[in-house]
């Protein structure tokens, strides 16, 4: 299940709870990825919208993929505003062996960027501007453009 939080993620708390969850389950490798809001192009914050029904289906498919390799995935994401230097995204992979964990994390994060139904806005002078040039059409887009 994806953990959705209003505003910035409490990364230390999330990391601790994930680590506690996994440490006695005999996984040998635990990898986390955290996305932190960078100070660039004059933004004050990023803001996120999530379409949860499609996100959770997307995530469930990844959990199945992880399971078939003996691994387990966790993920947390912010909705609403996340100020500079705060975190908006966290993912974790648990796996018995390191190769699976390293490869799965890479594939998961890339597919997340490409296909997870989340929209990003730059907040500048309190205006919310869709980050169009950094966004990617979901796989299969253009279906209705006939």
């Amino acid at each position: 299940m994806v953990e959705i939080y209003e505003g910035p993620l409490d990364i230390k708390k999330i990391f601790s709870s994930w680590y506690e969850w996994g440490k006695d389950r005999n996984f040998g490798a635990f990898i986390t990825f955290v996305g932190i809001v960078r100070d660039e192009e004059g933004i004050e914050a990023l803001s996120f919208e999530i379409y949860e029904p499609v996100l959770s289906r997307w995530f469930d498919r990844w959990q199945q993929k992880a399971k078939s390799r003996g691994a387990y995935i966790k993920m947390a994401h912010s909705k609403g505003d996340v100020p500079l230097h705060e975190s908006s995204y966290a993912a974790a992979v648990f796996s018995p062996k390191r190769r699976v964990a390293l490869e799965l994390m890479d594939e998961f994060v890339e597919d997340f960027k490409a296909n997870a139904p989340i929209w990003k806005y730059d907040v500048k002078k309190s205006n919310r501007i869709y980050a169009k040039e950094r966004s990617h059409p979901i796989e299969g887009s253009g279906l209705l453009d006939i």
Partner: protein, 73 residues
């Protein structure tokens, strides 16, 4: 009636339309100047499942969602 919703940055209220499949819906949306430009870069979900084919029949109460380009993280 089929409910159509526009997600993320698309500035358009959801609407109810009387169409029998995605092809018919596409024709309808093409004629809407607010939406036309989004069509080529939107993914489509029917009842929250992404679809990859126009051969999807729609029945009363179905929900179609348009998902514009994404950028999580």
């Amino acid at each position: 009636m089929v409910k159509v919703e526009f997600l993320g940055p698309i500035k358009k209220e959801q609407m109810s339309v009387d169409v029998k499949d995605l092809k018919e819906l596409a024709q309808l949306l093409k004629s809407d100047p607010d939406i036309k430009e989004w069509l080529k870069e939107c993914a489509v979900a029917v009842n929250d499942n992404l679809v990859n084919s126009l051969d999807v029949e729609l029945k009363d109460g179905d929900k179609v969602s348009l998902l514009p380009p994404v950028c999580g993280g």
